[in-house]
Symmetry: none
């Protein structure tokens, strides 16, 4: 216990006093009845993008997966541990969420590593390189299209393409296909700009990201 960072302990006490105590009845209800969120968010680990804050959420409202660059791998049953797939299965089959939002953001370190892949591959960043390789096809298409542009120019575009790739991958899961087909589940893409606070959402018809 003495090892636990005092700053975190102090901030927890603040939460306990300020948030938890005045809302204890609600927490007790959530504890006894269990959670029943309507929405699942797939977002990035980035410390500047907290989905609960961005969507003014209350406890019990958002089921949240966070990994580097808010990626969803495609459906596959081989391999060992599939964290995102397990979360997706739990959200779709147990919680029966009605919406899944893939939320990208500006200045994403993971997407940047994908663009600087040669640099990254030569360092010891083996897991990042491997994880971000989900976006290699999207990256290669962008580089081909734009020629020798610097990663700086391509970053915002690849962040958005990454959201589209994750949505495509989501639709490779049988449970998503079935529920979306029945109109019981909707998929959405979004992109948050940290400097301006702008949220863009993916328009299905045009395939473009538009300001909310």
């Amino acid at each position: 216990m003495k090892h636990f960072p005092e700053q975190l302990a102090d901030r927890y006490r603040r939460f306990k006093y300020r948030h938890f105590a005045p809302n204890q009845e609600e927490y007790e209800r959530l504890a006894s009845e269990g959670q029943s969120p309507d929405t699942m968010i797939v977002s990035c680990c980035d410390s500047r993008v907290d989905p609960e804050t961005l969507f003014s959420a209350m406890p019990g409202e958002l089921f949240v997966v966070r990994n580097v660059a808010n990626l969803v791998p495609p459906y596959e049953t081989q391999g060992k541990y599939h964290g995102v797939s397990a979360a997706l299965e739990f959200a779709a089959l147990n919680l029966r969420v009605k919406h899944i939002v893939v939320l990208g953001h500006s200045g994403c370190g993971g997407v940047k590593a994908c663009l600087d892949h040669e640099a990254a591959r030569q360092t010891s960043a083996e897991f990042i390189t491997n994880w971000m390789s989900m976006l290699d096809p999207a990256r290669d298409t962008l580089i081909e299209k734009h020629g020798g542009d610097s990663s700086h120019t391509l970053l915002p575009e690849l962040e958005r393409e990454g959201v589209k790739t994750s949505l495509t991958n989501l639709r490779t899961f049988p449970c998503v296909q079935i529920l979306e087909g029945k109109g019981r589940l909707q998929l959405h893409g979004a992109h948050f700009d940290i400097a301006t606070g702008t949220l863009e959402v993916l328009d299905r018809e045009s395939g473009e990201f538009v300001k909310i």
Copy 2:
């Protein structure tokens, strides 16, 4: 755009107007300077346990991985996508975080599925069963120790054992071993009780969870 849930759009607008706008300078600074959080949290997707709220965090302070049951798989270089490993690598090598906290919680649906594994295995919950199998050894040890106890009794104990398992797995990563050995990285375990708001942290010496 018209497909995006109006409730989420409305809540985003309130964030933008009432939270982002008054703090825009800080967001602009974070956007231009990049993130430099001190702490990485591994926590659960559960909608009732938001680590930013629990630790009264400001934007830029916590690098957060969220998956079902806040698990860290052991180090392994085979297989395809390793989401947690990529996040860990990014946090340890790029961000050079000083603390990693594995945060469990009460009423965890993932841990419950691990205890009810026979039931779960017979349903279509293939990914959950597979993902939670990381805790099978801990579960079997508990069942052996307690005999025919119902899962209800074992749930709180397995939630805490799961945190310990993840800490053990974290230490199988070479970068964690090296940084912890040099005193540049500290690992912590914690468990949050939703009904009472109590946070317990793992005492290294005793191996027990104690109230903060």
Copy 3:
């Protein structure tokens, strides 16, 4: 211009940059289409109780009257200027709001002056005494009921009785009677506690204020 307080000018610039600029399209729309709020709030001038903040409101959502102690005088056509009546008429007939909320609060200086009326009457506070005399009947009933209790004890009760008096007065206006009778307008009472943040609302059946 040089007389205008620099602090206010500075804070306006902050608003212009932080709130107005990013939401300019919405303001332009509101300017060209006019306002169409659903809700009218009658609240106090008190600097600690801003209804827009309390209800996380966006521009265009709340039509707000603020006077000392959030009072509505009864309908009467004599006398010269009837500020609240004019606002009520505008809200009910022009804007066709669907809800009117009378919002009281703890530590109300106006209600306190009504309780300390003897003290107030001997000072030069002629207008306050006169304005707050709307609550004299409610105050006298309370004092009779509680005997020689200090104003300290009666304050929270008279704040809530004041809300009820204003609701009663609202119902003396013909337009309110008609619209409420047709189900096109609903009246609500509420009380905000500054120290704890608790909002109580008036339950119509029981006539009691209950936590939200």
Copy 4:
């Protein structure tokens, strides 16, 4: 309680959780010490013009009167209820504010009703017509000056003349005269344009409104 609009209740809960909780210490201090704002604002009920937002105010900073068209009636001791006079008295004598700002705005429905007085007088808008008659002299002067101009052209000018009228009326109050004479109170006029976000303030020397 079940009658209270769910939308308002939900927005209050978000205020409580996301705004009140993190600022609770400040609210507790304000509750125990009482308010001591420096500035009183007289502004309009219009839902598009929230003075706390416009001046980026914190709880405890602005004492706010809001009525139709931000009017201050002249000092008079007859008649029954004088809402603005009571607020003014409270602000000047009890709170000892240092500044009073009369804040007009574009597209003001009350001022428009004053310009369309013939139309208004024939409708049932008895209170509005009566309340806005405070600006009849200013209106008549403008119409005389401009000839047969449409109300559209005169509206922005009458909004600004209304602010001047209210400042003139403020100076009919003995307490204002005394405090202003002693240099302990300053009066200011301002006008906010909803479409452009421009704030103009009244220059005392020239009697003109100038951009801040």
